[in-house]
Amino acid sequence: MDREIVHRCRRGELGAFEEMYKRYGSRLYTVAYRMTGSAADAEDLVQDIFLQVYRRLDTFRGEAALGTWLHRLAVNACLDFVRSKQGRRQRVTDSADDLDALEAPAAGPWRPDAALDRMDLERAIAQLPPSYRRAFLLHDVEGLEHHEIGATLGIAEGTSKSLVFKARTRLRALLRGRETAGAAQPARAAAAAGEAGRSGAR
């Protein structure tokens, strides 16, 4: 099926692109949304990604599944975008990455046996420092291995592992804090919720 879509796309059939978009657009948009934290940026990125797909379709040899190839393209495009955006902001937001001292988890119990609220987790992820967030998303959400993350981000495998460790510890603190003290950092959480509100969950 994917092979057929690729073949038709190569012939320039817009209908085939629409099929590809319907099949993979949400996946790629979600990757972009979570990596950038912005629905508007994700919308621009998903367009850019599909244009890249069109331009690079001749390089798709079918060795990997189409979805895997698209996902890789999307992750790289998102990382390029995030890096350039960070560069423009002179890494202001990344300053928190250097803080190894993490908040101690609040004393109140977090009920791991209860279903973890999706929106709470999304909001907490949005509050992570960028480098933590990227590593966590790629590992725990997108399912990449540490060596793949290392290659993708240009960091050592051990650094990826350390970033995921720190991200999880920070997330745990945020989630426990939210449960005991209400929404942690309400302004940022509200901003994240507002952004998420622009997109409809599938």
Partner: protein
């Protein structure tokens, strides 16, 4: 107090092992030691439970659906790309380039047939395909050659029109480029211009020189491609997209 400090230090060490276990990468030799610690440490047991829940929830996060407007905008951009495949061209030059490419393709067969050892019947058919005089009207070979020349001239005009449009855009945005890079691009454009000039001179001396004609159109095509890349570069530089710029420059150096 001392026992508490030791326990904290142990928990720090075992926390890493808990992460490994949640990821399914725990060294089997450490399994027993970790289990023994967890049995006596509620804090680390809570950590394991929390991480397992978090990892499960993260892996199960649902996808979001982009707004319908995203496909609408994307399909327009894709349609533009498809129209001028394989190169990225923007609206102002798209039509001119498509026409030029069509003309060159259509006419090239006629040129070969007319100027090469063509069979007697071929020129008429080729001229008709090239959009020349109405099919069925018999023309002399000289008339047909003139007609093909006219089409090539029109094709060249389309390329030149596209180039002029691109040059205007580049001129307006050149300040976004690094001066050294801008100078390199100008030098490369100069080399292409020189090739085009030499091809024109060869055609002037030998109007039937097919190699020179092919060379001229190749030079024009290369100039369009380089100008397109330059415009794309200007766009990404304006956005501060260094990685995008590196990608384009990589493509330029390969082409």
């Amino acid at each position: 107090m001392e026992r508490q400090t030791t326990a904290d230090a142990d928990c720090g060490r075992f926390a890493a092992l808990v992460h490994d276990r949640v990821d399914g990468t725990l060294d089997p030799d450490l399994q027993e030691e970790l289990d023994a610690h967890l049995r006596q440490c509620p804090s680390c047991r809570a950590l394991e439970a929390d991480l397992a829940a978090m990892k499960g929830a993260a892996a199960a996060l649902p996808d979001y659906t982009p707004r319908a407007e995203v496909w609408a905008a994307l399909s327009q951009r894709l349609a533009g790309e498809v129209a001028v495949r394989p190169r990225q061209v923007w609206t102002g030059t798209r039509v001119a380039l498509a026409m030029a490419a069509t003309l060159v393709l259509a006419v090239s067969a006629s040129v070969w047939l007319l100027r090469g050892p063509a069979p007697a019947q071929a020129p008429q058919a080729s001229a008709a395909q090239a959009g020349g005089p109405a099919a069925g009207v018999i023309q002399s070979k000289e008339d047909l050659v003139q007609d093909v020349d006219e089409h090539l001239r029109i094709a060249e005009e389309h390329y030149l029109k596209a180039i002029a449009g691109l040059e205007q855009v580049v001129k307006g945005g050149e300040s976004a480029l690094d001066p050294a890079l801008a100078a390199t691009l100008q030098r490369n454009l100069g080399v292409i211009d020189q090739a085009a000039t030499e091809s024109r001179e060869a055609i002037k001396a030998q109007p039937n020189n097919q190699l020179a004609q092919a060379s001229l159109f190749e030079a024009l095509r290369q100039k369009v491609a380089l100008l397109e890349d330059t415009v794309a570069l200007i766009n990404v530089m304006r956005k501060g997209d260094q990685a995008g710029a590196a990608r384009i420059l990589g493509g330029v150096s390969k082409s």
